[in-house]
Amino acid sequence: MKDINEDIAWAKINTDVLRSLESPRKLYWVIVFGALAVFSVAVGCEVYQYNMGMGVANMDNPHVWGLYIATFIFWIGMSHSGTLLSAILHLMHADWRKPIYRFAEAMTTFSLMTAGLFVMVHLGRLWQFYYSLPYPNDRSLWPNFQSPLLWDAMAIFTYLSSSVIFLFVGMIPDLAICRDHLHAGWRKKLYTVLALGWEGTDRQWRNFRVTYLTIACFLIPLAVSVHSIVASDFAMSQQPGWHVTSFPPYFVAGALYSGCAAIITLFIILRYTFKFEEYMTLAILKKTVRLTFAIAMVWTYLNAVEFASVWYSHDIASKEVLIQKATGPYAIAWWGMIFCGSVVPLILAFKRFQTNIPVLLVTSLLLNLGMWLERWMIVAPTFSHGIYPWTWDHDQWPSWVQWGMVFGSFGWFTLLFMVFCKVFPSVSMYEVKEMVYHRTLASKKLEDSGMQESGKGAH
């Protein structure tokens, strides 16, 4: 099985991809309007919460964080897959990433934007958000540079801006193609501006390669640090269940995990919606699935490490939180997380399921559910079973406002993503051309040496 058909003409690539900007299937519009509707639920919830106060989300003292923070971590986690596919695999010269990295990268950007929203809706005084920004002001005040939350805000902003730049820079040659192929209209103007005068000269290509590589190198440590810092929000605190040294790698693994799962989901949806069967091939899907499986096992291992380190520690409170997770009111969610996160991925180990689209769609959704539950199980049980027994487990169940916001965030993400796919080429044209070219060269080479082998790239 080949990653991509080597016979695709370059012109056909252009036509196929550009067609996605013009005429997707009907399903596209269904998804867009569905997403809009779902997102409006979140908007409604936020308007209500903003006016009434945070109480309508049904958090309490001391259970002050709820689904917002959990879902925030979830979306931050989602963002990591894009970087993994586009930057890490780019550096590793795994060229099968080429047809799919663009949408993965877009996913990074949009999930970060979604995560940012959760920080906002979580704040009790959203309108004073700017207090947390370090800028000279007439109050002569700086934020608290000691707070992990501030590092968090900074890390996310940096990551977001870097991802946008990476996404944009990587798109420049394609934007030029769009500019050259589209009829006049607002889009053409847009592409003209965004293409930055790309002519495809040697010099431009040279500069482009260097820039792209530099940003990729920059982005990888950033991605790791972002989720490590998110982990610090918890690890730097003194609360049982949070004060865990292994949290940063655990969080990063979880992030990559959920991101990969989401890529599988979106892969399947895009492939169908925009008729990208020729580019998003099952061979690539298979590779992605294998990658996901590997990460799932890493995550499972780190999870076990965390449990073991708590279990054999002398920290009674942490141990109680762990027991509470497995037996208390959150038991269903916690066991759900174990099942979805560690058991379900075993399906991916079977070859016959690695290309079975319906199974993969369901599995990837389950994996994501598991990862969302994981985040919730990090945040919530510590509050309801913390250090101080008097305050244990008051009535606390997220209200419909919280659920609505979580639900709506998927609408927001999908909306952004779908609009992006319609406006920008979601498959990198120039890189697919490169890939086809390289593959052709490679198979020629192999033919020459008589060592025909299919399915593997030359690199």
Binding site: R139, L141, W142, N144, L196, G197, R203, Q204, F208
Partner: protein, 254 residues
């Protein structure tokens, strides 16, 4: 592409330079140009200049209302300022106390209006000019006690530090920004600590003996408050840090 990179480097450099400059500029000290608040309409257009303004040297009898003031001490009318956190508006009684004996202006519109209120025993609905947000607790008494009574500075200078040169105005108008950074610009500044100022606080009777070592050092700075906006105080000769004034958030916000 070249242009793009060059342009972006240029822009980033410009941004960095301008922001670091603006961030590093010390806040305006007390004497800088004023930040004028909006003009406010009061029920009676009270002429501060006439009451607090300087006497006209050419007119010893002070007969021309347009050409000089009475040099009345601010604290004569705003009498609560030295005893209380709020400076207060004088009771009408106080206005009447003087004005019932000043026949010359008795029939002017403003004074007629004043007497109308007095006779109706109705309070005058003055508009508040210097209106800090409710979570800010400014204490007039301490400032007056320290600067007027302990350091013997002129009253108008002390009041004027925050209220501007009221003796030149009719209806008072805000002259300073009163933003927190503006307050801090003063609290950060090195106030002279006189013997009757901070020093005496420490040397006072009834002070527990173990604190004797502090006597020369003034009030020591807290652990972190200055981080959120206050300059780290300079050390005095003995090496101890000396605060310039209350500098905790909770000095003004609680």
């Amino acid at each position: 592409m070249h242009r793009f990179i060059r342009l972006s480097i240029l822009l980033m450099g410009l941004f960095a330079a301008s922001s670091s400059y603006s961030a590093d500029v010390q806040l305006a000290p007390l004497t800088t140009a004023d930040d004028l608040g909006p003009a406010i309409e009061q029920p009676i257009e009270f002429p501060h200049n006439r009451h607090a303004g300087l006497r006209n040297p050419n007119d010893p009898t002070n007969s021309d209302p347009l050409k000089g003031g009475m040099e009345i001490n601010c604290l004569y009318c705003h009498t609560y300022a030295r005893r209380d956190s709020v400076a207060g508006i004088p009771p009408i009684q106080k206005c009447i106390g003087c004005h019932q004996n000043i026949e010359s202006v008795r029939e002017t519109p403003r004074i007629k209006k004043l007497f109308e209120y007095w006779e109706a025993k109705k309070a005058i609905p003055w508009k508040k000019v210097h209106d800090l947000p409710d979570f800010v607790r400014f204490n007039h008494e301490r400032h007056i006690k320290r600067f007027v009574f302990q350091q013997n500075r002129p009253v108008q200078e002390v009041c004027g530090a925050c209220h501007g040169d009221v003796k030149t105005m009719t209806v008072a108008r805000r002259q300073k920004s009163l933003a927190m950074g503006w307050c801090i610009s003063c609290h950060e500044k090195d106030h002279p600590v006189t013997a009757s100022g901070n020093g005496s606080l420490i040397n006072a009777e009834g002070m527990p003996s173990s604190m004797g070592s502090l006597a020369a050092n003034g009030v020591s700075i807290g652990s972190q408050a200055y981080w959120y906006g206050f300059k780290k105080p300079a050390a005095n000769a003995a090496g101890a840090e000396v605060a310039k004034g209350p500098n905790d958030c909770s000095s003004c916000h609680y």
